[in-house]
Symmetry: C2
Subunit: 307 residues, 2 copies
């Protein structure tokens, strides 16, 4: 099970009715935050979710609207009595930027580790999921992120019984271990079915459309993508500022064949993004123009909540 | 004329319904901001006032709830096409803190000057008013501020005529200049009445009550003071954290004989500060428990809007 909430949907500057773009994912008691602009701690509080279990904070890039809320967010985690380390992931320079911003958040009851990205792609394996960062095309180094919850095949109890394997060894095989009993080796592949479809969410701001984004979005249950401009007449501006229009995001979603597309990161000048939804759905019909607080619980395709 | 707005009334952390404590004053087209926590730019936008004319930003101290909104605020000023320099005033270390926070707000179209306070008191004369900073008693170096709009005496046209002074010299005398006509010197005191009562606002968070605060609050049309805790039962906590209760603020207001007291900077645990207003008014009856956006236009006592 993967809970996703889009804490804010604004680009560039926070507005009284629109927090800055940020996403939070909850997976088995652990949370991952992507981007943390000014007000993210308030948006999270408004949603009613806690800052304490945020184990990872990913940054797309270091423009202020994506990181200015970090000191306050760290202090709110401290205030929630977090003591476990926090891993931050972001482009090269992350440690320096975080250290600078921490001039007003020095004393934290937890360690902050920084993982700086420099390659085109980078995969980080966590206990709860897998994060893949992929470089996108903005005016400064910027990354998109896919969060994937892999799902092993189903355990075949009949096969295990047929092998004469005692029940006490089953869980080890389920975890991927090889088991030796009476000198005979038993491999997971002997008792596990084919890997099943897991869950995948892909998040991308700020960028021009790229092939890498489309490739990484493939297989996503949810593709969250910036839509800085609703009006195609603003395509030149989007090109100039290295952003996207709704239509460009929808075209990528269609090509990637994702289950659904959430648009976010609207220009402050875009007061009514929903005005463009009908036209955008002609390109990709499962598009949603999100508002702050949009959330969904993604479950495995057979409806099982968790393994 | 002096417009005052309390942009937020929260201490420690911003809440969905309460921005962090910050005050803005508007005087003859120039604005002065005191404190700039996370969300201050949003609160200002919500109020409908512009960030562009903010010529001075004063910081009481460098706890995050008083300065974390600075990078975003500076960028919103840049976005409003400000090009004139901005003066920042705050305790020693200001330049370093501002430089660190500007890691995400480097390229601004205006110069930022920092004035660091180290003495017990410090007066800054501006074109529009006079700012007096005075040290208060918090867990880190912290200052309160008084903003005073002085008001010269009334020009005595009859006296000027009796002196045989041509009208064309009057305005120079009104501005405080000495004028020489036909070898004779004319001094402002010859044509100006007694200095009249101006306007004064005093602002103080975060501190224990002190004699200096009371002294500096004297003569204020408006005294804005922290009220971290409403319940007197929390006095020990107030002492420990170097904050104040409502009653302590009201006692200072009464002793200083201010015209009115606005309470602000409530603890996040204080959900309904208005519950304590009746008891507080027994100590100082012109106390108001402010909400975000509270504002007032102070005018000279004879009702004249400006000189």
């Amino acid at each position: 099970m993967l809970d996703i909430c889009l804490l804010g949907t604004g680009g560039m500057m926070p507005l009284p009715y629109r927090f800055l773009t940020s996403m939070i994912a909850r997976i088995n008691g652990s949370s991952i935050l992507i981007d943390c602009g000014e007000g993210t701690q308030v948006a999270l509080r408004k949603k009613g979710w806690s800052a304490k279990p945020v184990d990872v904070i990913c940054f797309t890039h270091f423009h202020a609207d994506h990181i200015s809320g970090l000191p306050g967010f760290l202090l709110s985690m401290a205030n929630a009595d977090r003591t476990e380390p926090v891993l931050m992931i972001g482009p090269k320079g992350l440690s320096r930027v975080v250290a600078s911003l921490r001039v007003i958040a020095r004393d934290l009851p937890f360690v902050v580790d920084c993982l700086e990205l420099d390659d085109k792609e980078h995969t980080i394996n966590l206990d709860s999921c897998r994060i893949k960062a992929f470089r996108v095309n903005h005016s400064v180094p910027c990354y998109g992120y896919s969060i994937t919850v892999d799902r092993a095949g189903r355990f075949d109890a009949d096969a295990a019984r047929a092998l004469g394997l005692d029940v006490k060894y089953w869980s080890r095989l389920q975890k991927g271990e090889t088991v030796t009993v009476d000198g005979r080796e038993y491999y997971p592949s002997m008792v596990m079915g084919k890997e099943r479809k897991g869950l995948k969410v892909t998040y991308c701001t700020d960028s021009r459309p790229t092939r890498d984004i489309t490739e990484n979005a493939k297989g996503s249950d949810l593709f969250i993508c910036e839509g800085m401009y609703g009006d195609t007449a603003e395509l030149d501006k989007a090109r100039d500022k290295k952003h996207m229009t709704f239509f460009e995001a929808a075209a990528m979603a269609a090509e990637a064949g994702v289950d659904r597309l959430w648009l976010t990161h609207y220009s402050p000048s875009l007061n009514h993004p929903a005005e463009y939804i009908e036209e955008t759905r002609k390109i990709f019909d499962k598009t949603e123009v999100c508002k702050d607080g949009a959330s969904v619980t993604l479950v495995f395709e057979d409806g099982e909540a968790s393994e």
